[in-house]
Symmetry: C2
């Protein structure tokens, strides 16, 4: 018979056998789990019938000859490494060094390391990029409300931790580094937002003398090169879609192409409904109505779910209304008939090709809200169906470029403008004459990269002309004195340039098929920004406060 | 004749020729320097006799056919890219994007990028390391007086910016990542210290199941692999020296082996001098006397230099005295005879083999101070001689491992101890019995890597036994409650481990033969921590102060 123990290291585990007549049996009996040992022995085939097919090393074992205890573990660890799901996340974060021993975390961190290395190889060895480190202690950007500040020994003066190397990478282009990249640490103080971290990592890229198409092609080559070979492969070029089409077909600027149902524009049909249109005071030229049909699913639309969907629509998209219908039996459409009239309802059903068993979601009202309601239900109802065991999404990795975003969005107050992305984005060359005349119609040379419904990157061709940049700052009411160094730099001989940033925490999370970005980060913080292992953040000493010329308030 | 212009990009420059009858001549006449253009033309050999041998592309030129101005530069730039030395460093930092266009900066940043990439390749592809990103927002370390603090939205609670990933890398070993590295951003608030930056970069490495020799060998392989091929080559293994021998032979823990003069211990000779020893109250068992002879150099020891050296010795090493002699003529040694007696002086001259034309420095008093005085003069006087055109140092890159440092140093107050490096260093196994009995005699398993007189890295085998770590914390009077998570982690099954960190700013500076680390950093700050381009640090808004629950004082 004998005793056995399982020896684990970073690369796997193997069974060690001690025969009963071996004096080492006694030592083994008293060893706590997780004790660090060194063994000497002979690798042998396991006896016939005792192989373990679930174990990579299940056909062999080690016959123990000598054993050295290198560091004994305490017998009562907070959780066992063999039962992954039993420890809550908070406990796994408090004892992160134990959680890192789980095979999943080992795999995630190694996959992340390998993908990042492949990216560097592609950029440096294949494309002649220069890896340049830029500062994280910098000056706050105007209106940068989410920036951490760092007091200094200069009384009353603070650094800000950069949200991205945006200014530095443009300055590098102006400085003649024509192909820059950096795997950059960035900081954003977002309070408690789901699945965000106060510090995060992005692959930051900028190139001179490049256009949108060139940049997109470069990123596709990069992802193809660094794609983990164990995942299902990807094809380049990726599909492109305009922002308007994305909203029209998916009700989202981050479409998940794995879901086989598109949303449909039924605005013209609904406009025929005098029962609806006469009763309501919709703005005619921004009115829209959209629908999505999810086949063979009406049994899942239970009442609690319906009311949850209704609440979501009311809260997040108050400009439009939602109707939810289970298509079953003859009178399934009675509510629709009452709302829209019999004719209009029949036309809708015909156009959407509605069948017994389907679930039908219809939204109408402010076009943008109407699009997003059914766009969101397209995804959320799919999640519900998949949680019940139905397979809807393919297991492919479907990338998509979203282009032609509006350059400006309406500002917080009337008649003001905001940047849809940031104030350095180059306007679309075809829309230059609209900048003064009809700015909200101007498209920007911005591009987002979406993977399976998540935005994993975004970038743009930048403004390189100082007069145009000045004009855009003015239109956005940005204090130019704060950005004088950039304007001066643009006037010093700035090449045309553009770039992109990929969010590596999010991308790695998708590649690892992990639940949360916290599962692809070695030492993550909680949603409240706490490190549960050390307790950070913590109070500091009065000497430190004095050195930095600060006092705390509201404590 | 025609007109010409020089076209420059990130990779070099080339001459463009326009014949006088070409209508483009007019355009060229009015183009300010540094304007960004795109040209079309034909590459031709320059006419015989007009080749420029100083220019890489000096044998060819482009005959211009078309020219497009992509971005015109302002005619009055703060300095010209063609006259590197004319702009002071402050101006080059203010207009950093212009300074980056100089060929030296282009070369430095590209060399840095290439060396770092080679390091990554070696570690990941050759040695199976895992690149793990660790947080920079963390908890202050006990007594970490030089840590920047970051206020949070939790009233009165602060992160600290890490000085190094020390705790995280040990926790990664405990978490089963057995070979970790990271090119890590670190932060240290040192006020204005020469050639330091508030943020800096280190190659951070940690390995499990490794001893000192294994780690040293790994680093030697790494440097050999990543060494720039254009520099004179290096040989491994590097020399080793103990801390005691380094002080004895070079009077420094960072010996510059390119200087061919060693210091010499003349303690026993000096102790024969009753004229000296009877008059003074030196502590007999810590008394030491050292000398260094610099051949053929006495003419350079002018009086102003002598008094500068005397001031340095008095200020920095007050425990010992310095005598400086120019060996010339017969009575050169009269001061020595008066000080030490005729016999002793003759013995010294014989032992040191002093010759006409030499310069002789002798120090005596507290041994450590005496060593360091002549150790420092060995380097500084060499600098003086080299500034006068004498070639003393070889152009080799001479690495040296310094080992066997004392684990403890005397603390700030009597009978207290401090860590020579840090409290996680493993004591030398041969000195374990001295820990309680005679702690200042205990050597640590620490190693420093020195290149040409600069410390470029340091590391150690760490303590993995929680009881020993507790004992060391107690001896150092460190608050264990602050380090509880590490002690718990050591008790959870921690492998024996060790690591190292290489300072990449310093190393790259030596590889680039640059004057300052600021010349190998894209956007450096001044010694006062200022970014001269943006003006950071700057005041922040009252909204921001409120959000972070702070007030400024002393403003």
């Amino acid at each position: 018979m004998g005793k056995f123990l399982v020896l684990r290291d970073a690369y796997g585990s193997i069974q060690v056998i001690v025969s009963d007549d071996n004096s080492l049996v006694q030592n083994i009996n008293h060893l706590p789990y997780e004790t660090v040992i060194s063994v000497t022995g002979t690798v042998v085939a396991r006896p016939v019938g005792q192989e373990n097919k679930k174990m990579k090393t299940g056909e062999i074992e080690i016959q123990l000859e000598a054993l050295e205890v290198l560091n004994i573990a305490t017998p009562q660890l907070p959780f066992s490494i063999r039962e992954y799901n039993k420890a809550k996340e908070a406990l796994r974060m408090q004892y992160r060094y134990l959680a890192l021993r789980f095979p999943e975390m080992q795999r995630n961190l190694r996959l992340r390391s390998n993908v990042l290395m492949k990216m560097r190889e592609y950029l440096i060895n294949n494309c002649d990029f220069v890896d340049v480190e830029t500062p994280t202690l910098f000056k706050s950007t105007p209106g940068g409300a989410r920036e951490f500040v760092v007091p200094t020994r200069h009384p009353g003066q603070f650094y800000s931790l950069v949200q991205s190397p945006q200014q530095f990478k443009q300055l590098l282009m102006i400085g003649g580094i024509d192909r820059y990249f950096q795997i950059a640490r960035c900081y954003r103080d977002e309070g408690s937002r789901h699945d965000r971290q106060p510090e995060f990592t992005q692959l930051d890229i900028e190139m001179s003398f490049i256009n949108r198409e060139g940049l997109i092609e470069m990123i596709e080559g990069l992802l193809l090169h660094s794609w983990p070979p164990e995942l299902s492969s990807i094809k380049v070029p990726f599909d492109h879609i305009t922002y308007n089409d994305a909203m029209e077909l998916y009700g989202s600027e981050q479409p998940d192409l794995r879901i086989p149902y598109n949303i449909q524009n039924i605005t013209e049909l609904i406009k025929q409904s005098s029962t609806l249109m006469d009763k309501t005071d919709f703005e005619h030229n921004t009115f829209g109505s959209y629908a999505v049909v999810i086949p063979n699913s009406q049994d899942c639309l239970i009442n609690s779910l319906k009311s949850q969907f209704n609440d979501m629509a009311k809260k997040q998209f108050p400009g439009a209304k939602l109707v939810q219908e289970k298509v079953t039996g003859d009178s399934w459409n009675s509510k629709l008939i009452k709302l829209f009239s019999e004719d209009v309802t029949k036309n809708i059903a015909d156009k959407l090709n509605v069948k017994e068993g389907d679930t039908l979601f219809i939204s109408f009202g402010e076009k943008a809200d109407a699009q997003q309601i059914v766009g969101k239900l397209r995804v959320e109802y799919t999640n519900v169906l998949e949680s019940k065991g139905r397979k809807i999404r393919s297991s492919d990795y479907l990338f998509l470029w979203v282009v032609d975003f509006p350059l400006f969005s309406p500002g917080e107050t009337k008649d003001t403008l905001a940047s849809t992305h940031h104030p350095f984005t180059q306007p679309h060359p075809d829309d230059m004459d609209l900048i003064s005349r009809d700015p909200l119609k101007v498209r920007g040379l911005h591009y987002d990269l979406v993977l399976n419904g998540s935005e994993i990157g975004g970038g743009s061709i930048r403004i390189h002309n100082p007069a145009l940049q000045t004009k855009i700052f003015d239109m956005l009411d940005i204090d130019k004195s704060q950005m004088y160094h950039l304007l001066e730099a643009l006037a010093s001989g700035a090449p045309p340039h553009g770039g992109i940033a990929l969010g590596l925490d999010r991308l790695t999370c998708l590649l690892c098929n992990a639940q949360s970005i916290r599962d692809v980060i070695a030492f993550p913080k909680t949603m409240e920004g706490r490190d549960l292992m050390s307790g950070a953040p913590v109070p500091i000493s009065s000497e430190e406060m004095e050195a930095y010329h600060i006092k705390t308030i509201n404590v």
